[in-house]
Amino acid sequence: MQLESKVPAGPLTEKWDKHRAEMKLVNPANKRKFRVIVVGTGLAGASASASLAELGYDVDAFCYQDSARRAHSIAAQGGINAAKNYPNDGDSVWRLFYDTIKGGDYRSREANVYRLAQVSNHIIDQCTAQGVPFAREYGGLLDNRSFGGAQVSRTFYARGQTGQQLLLGAYQALMRQVHLGKVSIYPRSEMLDVVLENGRAVGIVTRNLMTGEVRSWAADAVVLATGGYGNAFYLSTNAKGCNVTAAYRAYKRGAGFANPCFTQIHPTCIPVSGDHQSKLTLMSESLRNDGRVWVSKTTGDKRAPGDIPDDERDYYLERRYPSFGNLVPRDVASRAAKQVCDEGRGVGSSGLGVYLDFRDSINRVGEDGIRQRYGNLFHMYEKITAENPYQVPMRIYPAVHYTMGGVWVDYNLMTTIPGLYAIGEANFSDHGANRLGASALMQGLADGYFVLPYTIGDYIAQAGPSGAKSTDAAFTDVESEVNERTRKLLTRKGKRTPDSFHKELGKIMWDECGMSRNAEGLKQAIQRIPELREEFWESVRVTGAREELNQTLEKAGRVADFLEFGELMCRDALQREESCGGHFREEFQSEEGEALRDDEKFAHASVWEFKGDGAEPALHKEELEFENVTLTTRSYK
């Protein structure tokens, strides 16, 4: 496997401009002769599909949801970063770049991150032009707020529904192109494999979730915008349908998969309430602007929070990290919460929780002021817990939220398979080992609106038409494989439900490959997961038929892939013998319990190559070169 990053030469600040000037173009009249498949209609997929169609390409867009508008980007609450510097507080493209590289614990590619910061401002302009109702000041200009890992206010937001509003903007742009006949949209369609001819990606095979029809689609390029794999843990803040299937099948067809162990555990989620729990709900990080995180100073303190006087409270983030306080990055906040709970100071019936307290802010700006900022989040919290957060502090605990790892891509967002692209959360590129809050929306839209539409043209201009037809042998072969797999799932007639396997896998992943990891646990997981997989294929029970809406079959197919992919995550975590960002190896920590990075040995992306079922995957490395920033120990103290 060749890992050529294709980062253009020249000074960092000029790379993207220079690259754009040098890329090959496709004549406007010729663009309509090319077809691009985009899988996924979240921020990255919808913005890419719309933008490519506007340029003149024919686009086939697919999503598993019943409407493109429901992709999980919609659930992002807090905001989107940009280097506009409207608040005049010293922000700049450079500072956004630097914060993102540092926040990612120096495990991302400089050139990609700089480009991301450069295009961030265009995103805000574009979304405003589409009618995204960003929050405004009384003077009519856009409002900003702060987020973790930054000391400037650069986050644009639309109440607590920023993801929804940005997605609706992109979705509406996409629907406009459907109306104009440039995009064909296929909801309730799941991509089950990618098809290659002569080493080039030329199409996909899908299952129509309404009718069960398995069908091939040919194109000149394929884009995966299929999101992250947080549901490998079963419980996460992802939507129930989020899955790794598309990315994992691409990996099995030869796409390198980078840093699968880099997963983000979000510090502010509502704690688990019982065995019936089906997913976890995030409380936006923006709450940490006004909420103070604390636990009692004494272990096993069973008093109600209001009965614990201030001098007996430990505001541990403010104590340990005085300069960033409650706004430390997510990985740091999550680990600190775990530590106090491990010490027996956790709150709530399970002891797995900490307080997020708004008392002081309510005293400062009033209940209405807080309601203005976070009304819908407080409402949601009360719905779920039956507690009123205006009166008692919220209880929060970390939960799996985002995956920084993903399909390896070069500077042009192309995977190791020519013609196959990965954008948004599905790729690995920009967030290193830890993503800063409000940067996922930025990256998804940067890739879809402002990067891919340029770089894919460069590829198409050089590679020319694929000439593939959906009746080619390459397609019918893959279709047969897909059908065989479905047949196997439907004929096991075992005793256990797909969900029971998913829960068991999730527990292994959370215990051994979650907030903190160690070699012994990871080795056990690597042994246990294949056993569970074997049991799955022997004794999974899937009812119903193939040629109909069959949610159990969908679920079983996704769980089957997680059962393979989980092992890859553990392998990656085992080989990375350092602690960086969201990846915390217990063997590598300072005396104060802070992460110890090893830049000598691990300043690289770990990229895995599939070597066949049952065979160990091969590890490749893309060395990360830092020419513009100095690698320092990340300190938020």
């Binding site: 405003t128 405004r136 000041e137 639309a158 909801p187 089906s278 995030l282 439900t497 029971s500 809406l549």
Partner: protein, 248 residues
Amino acid sequence: MKLTLRIWRQKNAQDKGGLETHQLDDVSPDMSFLEMLDVLNEDLLEKGTEPIAFDHDCREGICGTCSLMIDGVPHGPDRGTTACQLHMRTFKDGDTLTIEPWRAKAFPVVKDLVVDRTSFDRIIQAGGYVSVNTGGAPDANLIPIPKAEADVAMDAAACIGCGACVAACKNASAMLFVAAKAGHLGHLPQGEVEKKARARAMVHQMDEEGFGACTNTYDCEAACPKEISVEFIAELHRDYRKGLFSGR
């Protein structure tokens, strides 16, 4: 908690369908409504019976996928709440609950509790957008927008496209859905340019899809999980009329 559930089962669009009764003996009040259905489905699957198909995804009240009629009320008895955010503590031990899909000609049943809502997408395709291409947008702060106006736009933009308004309406009208989108864009200078044409195109598409007409009974507002105001319907009427006469 013990519950009796009467659930709509329908094999496919052609099937006549009917209610099926299930008993649940151990429901935790902390479960969400959908988690209660998960428990039932796991139980059915373990017995080798096909689970009940229902739509759901984010389970945090924002994606708009879940679509259950609970005792004749879209999303159930809690105001301003989607079915996924509805918790079992709302109900009493021994209750009997009837669970059905959305009922509307423009939302045909696919299976059990799952309906086809692509008609909503086609309404948006008809004009629910601002016609701008990527690139070339002016600086976002070039046009100041009064905070109050931006807030009204956001109130309308909160629509999650679930279809509860249609399910609640005796005419199965999509007026609140259409009005919310028209109101969102119409209250912003960026969207005002195409306001009249948008109103006309979206209303025509709504009629085309087989949604009914609005007779101002406001069941839609009562059922809306995002509590979107019917005032937007009045605004839509006005813009639609203007659109008819201006020809733009």
